[in-house]
């Protein structure tokens, strides 16, 4: 266990130390990158472990944000309570939707989750009097904490704390018997059923855990931006996160985290070019599928094989490719 937890904690400490070194702009960018990294990592449990490709997971990210935003701005609730409310709302919707969604497989599952996400997006854009429509909800007050969260470095530190804790919890869960059973369901649901596992129940668990992770990061994101809009429920965000999982290497957890964070930084770098973002995403997807089928996570193995192969050829042996 220590072998898995230690790198996560060490990385958390390094990231926390950066708060005193980086200028404000970079801290803000890194805050969001970490949120999207964590979000992608949570989705990897569903996509990489259970092998269910969801194109609607922005729904749980956005719903939690909207829930918290409405509670703070309309009901003048304490921001912490509002965050709890937002996450609970998202969790509740996931619990209600999951039993239906997990009946579908492959492309049908992708379509059902996409359609479901569109309903939430439609509500957010059309129900203008309640959700602010396209304008969203501005003025979300950040909560009070041990340190000042209105300071960029302060909010960044909170994010590092939550992402580190969330990653530790997820990594630990993934290695547990319940986590391994999700891999089993993705690998052979027939074998799982024959061993006595309730396959639909396990799929539901994966769906809800991924939704919960999305909800936590969606809430953090809403408070970070002090704003929530329909962009947080947009299917293009779902696509970006699903792509992060694939480009990162599904099932590895750390790969999707890096890709999730990296894709956000890339998106932020294309300021003024946002119209082209879907095109860039598409090109990246094609490139990664063609040149790096296992995603970022396969790089270490490929590197080892490459080095081993070179050593063998240089020593005069044949058959360098394993």
């Amino acid at each position: 266990m220590i072998r898995r937890s230690l790198p996560v904690v060490a990385l958390g400490v390094v990231l926390a130390a950066l708060s005193g070194l980086l200028p404000q702009y970079w801290l803000g960018l890194l805050t969001q990158a970490l949120l999207f990294g964590g979000f992608a990592m949570g989705l990897d449990l569903l996509v990489g472990y259970t092998r269910m490709q969801s194109l609607g997971h922005a729904t749980f990210f956005g719903l939690a944000g909207y829930g918290a935003a409405l509670a703070v701005t309309r009901a003048a609730l304490n921001p912490w309570a509002a965050a709890g409310l937002g996450i609970s709302l998202s969790l509740l919707v996931a619990l209600l939707f999951a039993p239906l969604a997990v009946r579908f497989r492959g492309l049908s599952f992708l379509t059902v989750t996409l359609a479901f996400g569109q309903v939430a997006w439609g509500l957010a854009t059309r129900w203008t009097s309640f959700t602010g429509g396209e304008n969203g909800i501005p003025g979300i007050r950040r909560p009070a904490f041990l340190w000042d969260l209105n300071d960029p470095a302060g909010y960044y530190l909170l994010t590092v704390l939550v992402v580190t804790a969330g990653t530790l919890a997820l990594v630990r869960f993934a290695a547990s018997p319940a986590g391994m059973s999700l891999q089993g369901v993705g690998s052979s649901d027939t074998r799982m059923a024959a061993l006595g596992y309730d396959v639909q129940a396990r799929r539901t668990v994966a769906f809800v855990v991924a939704a919960l992770s999305g909800a936590v990061y969606g809430t953090l994101s809403a408070f970070f931006n002090r704003f929530i809009g329909p962009g947080s429920l947009d299917w293009r965000l779902s696509a970006q996160i699903l792509l992060s999982v694939i480009v990162g290497g599904s099932g590895s957890l750390w790969g999707p985290f890096i890709a999730g964070a990296g894709l956000h930084v890339l998106k932020a770098g294309l300021v003024g070019e946002t119209q082209r973002w879907p095109m860039v995403l598409g090109a990246l997807y094609v490139l990664s599928v063609v040149f790096l089928p296992g995603g970022l996570a396969s790089v270490p193995t490929r590197f080892h094989r490459f080095v081993a192969g070179r050593r063998r050829t240089s020593s005069g042996e044949q058959g360098a490719r394993p």
Binding site: A175, P177, R191, A193, A194, Y197
Partner: protein
Amino acid sequence: MTEVDLRALEIQDLTVHFGGLAALSGVQMTVQAGSRHGILGANGAGKTTLFNVVSGFIAPTRGRVWLFGDEVTHLPPHRRARLGLARTFQITTLFLDLTALENVLMASLVSAGHHRRVVHPARHDRIARPMAERCLNDLGLGHLMDVPVGEVGYGEQRLLEIAVTSALAPRLLLLDEPTAGLSAAETVAVLDLVRRLPPELTVIIIEHDLEVLFQVAEHLTVLHFGEPIADGPAWSVREDPVVKEVYLGSRG
């Protein structure tokens, strides 16, 4: 009461239609606890369909199934597994991207009752890990512990599937053509393994080769186009004129 307890499996009037095709019609069968029961039949005789109905993967058109005295006709596969039923498949069904240890762990975690745990790592489970290692070592597969099953040879995969089912500590084991596609030496190894299974375990084996079945089964049921044409002790079924006619006769 005791009589009920002695029956591992009971099947009454079992019929399965796939569209217009009758895969099984009117099958009656009783398997006593602790026996080694063989199911013989040519391709398409309905053997695998019978296993699929018994393990819950196919719902019968008509008829009822009991496991250890409990009616299970309408139970899903995982509930039947929890009653002590384990099975292998005609096409090896394992987690190809997981290691041999993880494959067996998936089963031993269930028998340890730890399969719902969410914190402690599965690989270090204090009950399931030693159980899984014992299963692998017993079958001489200890060297494969950390090898992804997809990279293991076909013969060892067949053995591994039996290791996975035995880690469930089942009361009734269904083996679907365990020697199919194996070399002569591998067949001997598998049959040897079947003979070494604990005597209190009830085993039902599907085979299309009577000679193979005769080595391990003491009781035989012969299926022919979905209908049982003989049922009884192995020696008597072997001498049965109808069986000789429709089954052995075709071999000359």
